[in-house]
Symmetry: C2
Subunit: 434 residues, 2 copies
């Protein structure tokens, strides 16, 4: 690429699998992505684009002229084309849409009319839907005769005259059934219908719960308007499940291909929030300045109380955030989970308190100091356990994402309560005075 | 249930979807799971069992006699039966295996011979494999005639005389092709083969990368021995992606249905490890006891430096752990990612340092103290950014799970370095002396 020898580059890349070409784009430095895209435009099939990381795809798409992007989008399934076009700037979007075939354009404009991350954006319009009265033989003939039908389907949808889905039929059932049998006798009537406005996270949970391979998407009037297939869902499951770890740590999107400025702005926000919570903890310490001057051991030991409490809080919080994301923690079992976490916190707190208390009493030759730190740790771990469930559950009830803001609150609680319990008990026990 | 009125319970549960019956078991208190299972044994089909959370399933299975479990296992696909039986105690395992039909028993014993979490455990043995010379019509006739074949398949595998896979054929292609065409002309030769000993996480990544719906599993000699379908993969993706958040926080399995004793023992281990790292930080503070006695503001401010550094380290670590899990962070781009994180750390560090430094200088009316804390924060955030990438990458190179132990190391580094930088700079600048 450095030598501008595009042909040599082309020859090198040509034998690769589309998914591996996608990997190649992710591996090269950002400034090479444009030239590489231009050098191997012919090889940039739909299957390469769908495999690309979102940020890398933006780099690639930016390097290509609108006509080229439109041609690629035309080859893609609607959902994949939408994924590419929704990320573009408005002017570029219009340029690409103008170059598209009218049918493709209509489908994409229609999809863009649904809210982001909804089933309407995710669905593809190409599907096979047939009336109830067909039999297996007629269906097979219909499929063979209509060359323009999609080949990307795993189930047939059976619809009534109003185009409302009444059942689905796995292809394997059709292949194993004699021609004269009616579809109505083979199909499964019990199906999972997805409204166009359902959130993609909820769609993914349905797919998992009912082990679906594809599902019918219906509009407000109950008419079949598209299908969602499991290959699109697997990416969502991966993303949503992985997002929580990044959100909890305040790392924003957390993609290694995200531009630095964007990573900076999403992360620094949380660092500043963290600074705020640290100030709360600091002002509690400041209250006990006199006590620390009298007994420096307090300054040496206080971070232990806060740190262990913070860790215990994070553990419980991770469990709660995960259970909320998977719909396992609901109104009906919240109390039971809080009771469960309380019991674990008492066990954990007692263990760590005994260890730290005994160690401190020995090292500082001061039994009272050992007792104070042990009690402070027990109290802080119990508070941490409660905060670790109650904070994310409360955020969830308020329809906030529990993964995003829980950390800040829980850390603030465990830090402040840790310092308060330890320094407060030290003063109360007469080890030091204000 | 309390009244022992099993019939009424049965009538209430009967109309529910299997996945909803599974949810019901998860919602009721542990002690009711056994009685509930005994009351509705007839409704406990294979589809309920496969949807149950692992811990809840153990409760249910424990309540049923071996003959009942064997009957259920016989209805399940091999992979699901194995998932149930591998969790049982050895004596119970033997009892259930003894009750199974010989063919089912052989398949399950065979599956149990593969390592846990390997493709061999995950695969199902039921699949449709046909020779190359068949044409579409012959295949359809074969499928119609052999009533004992599985209906759970999405692709046909085409094999050579040695039973080695040579291609796959989506069912939709077969349905759309005239009878006289040879399968060899319809099938896709380029396929993703999974060796029986591949780790399930790696299998899941292949499914995502190549958007597979099912894949052939081969033994050491390259012979087709089973298939893995995407519905089993979606659970693995969910689990593996979600596990990292729990591992990073040291919450073990982190399942809300896990017995309390197990949660206690997995969490307390990490709290004790955390105690160890807190001791390192404390001993650094102890070195500066004299300085703190002279200037209590140091004790008030030092947690801020450690806390912000810890947060910055966790952000970077979450990004790195996630990128490692998705195979995005590899040998070839490690250096680039470290350089990227360094730049973000400098930006974040400078922003937070200026804010904190200015605030401190104002509140304490001490410009030197402001300068010291600003510099300490900048240094600690840069160290945190580097540690956040280097620690997980190093653990990964040593073939350790980066999600498990990174936290402890990174926290130790950011806490210790935070205290050392701040207190050390305070002494070096002459604000206080040892």
């Amino acid at each position: 690429l450095d030598e501008g020898d595009d042909e040599a580059v082309y020859d090198l890349v040509e034998p690769l699998h589309p998914a591996d070409i996608a990997d190649l784009f992710e591996l090269v430095e950002r400034e090479y992505r444009g030239p590489l895209a231009r050098a191997i435009t012919d090889l940039l099939g739909a299957d390469v684009l769908t495999e690309l990381n979102d940020y890398v795809r933006d780099d690639v798409i930016d390097a290509l002229p609108a006509a080229q992007v439109a041609e690629l989008a035309g080859q893609l399934e609607t959902d994949d084309a939408v994924a590419i076009i929704e990320e573009m700037e408005e002017a570029d979007q219009r340029a690409v849409l103008a170059e598209l075939e009218p049918a493709d354009r209509a489908a994409i404009v229609d999809a863009l009319s649904f809210p982001e991350e909804s089933a309407g954006r995710l669905m593809q319009r190409d599907l096979v839907a047939v009336p109830e009265h067909m039999n297996v033989g007629q269906l097979i003939d219909y499929l063979r005769e209509h060359a323009d039908l999609t080949t990307e389907f795993w189930e047939i949808f059976i619809v009534d005259p109003q185009h409302r889905p009444v059942g689905t039929c796995q292809l394997s059932w059709i292949l194993r059934t004699p021609r004269h049998i009616a579809l109505a006798d083979v199909m499964k009537r019990d199906q999972t219908l997805i409204p166009t406005d359902m959130d993609q996270e909820e769609v993914a949970l349905r797919f998992q719960k009912y082990a679906l391979i594809s599902a019918a998407v219906i509009d407000g009037a109950g008419r079949l308007v598209g299908q969602i297939t499991v290959d699109d869902i697997i990416h969502i499951v991966q993303e949503e499940a992985g997002e929580d770890i990044l959100r909890m740590s305040g790392a924003g999107d957390g993609d290694i291909n995200e531009p630095i400025r964007q990573s900076y702005s999403s992360r620094v926000r949380w660092l500043i929030a963290n600074l705020g919570t640290a100030l709360v903890a600091s002002s509690i310490i400041a209250l006990f300045g006199g006590a620390i001057e009298q007994l420096v051991a307090l300054a040496v030991l206080m971070p232990i109380v806060a740190s262990v409490g913070g860790n215990a809080g994070t553990q419980t919080m991770a469990v709660a955030v995960r259970a909320l994301a998977m719909n396992q923690l609901t109104q009906s079992n919240t109390r039971r989970i809080i009771a469960r976490e309380l019991r674990i916190a008492v066990l954990n707190g007692a263990t760590v308190a005994v260890l730290t208390g005994a160690g401190t009493a020995l090292v500082f030759a001061d039994a009272m100091l050992g007792g104070v730190i042990a009690l402070a740790i027990l109290v802080n771990i119990i508070i941490a356990g409660m905060a670790g469930v109650i904070v994310p559950v409360t955020l969830d009830r308020l329809e906030q994402d529990p993964a995003v803001a829980s950390s800040v609150f829980v850390t603030m609680i465990t830090d402040s309560m840790g310092f308060l319990a330890f320094l407060g008990l030290a003063v109360a026990s007469g080890l030091a005075s204000f």
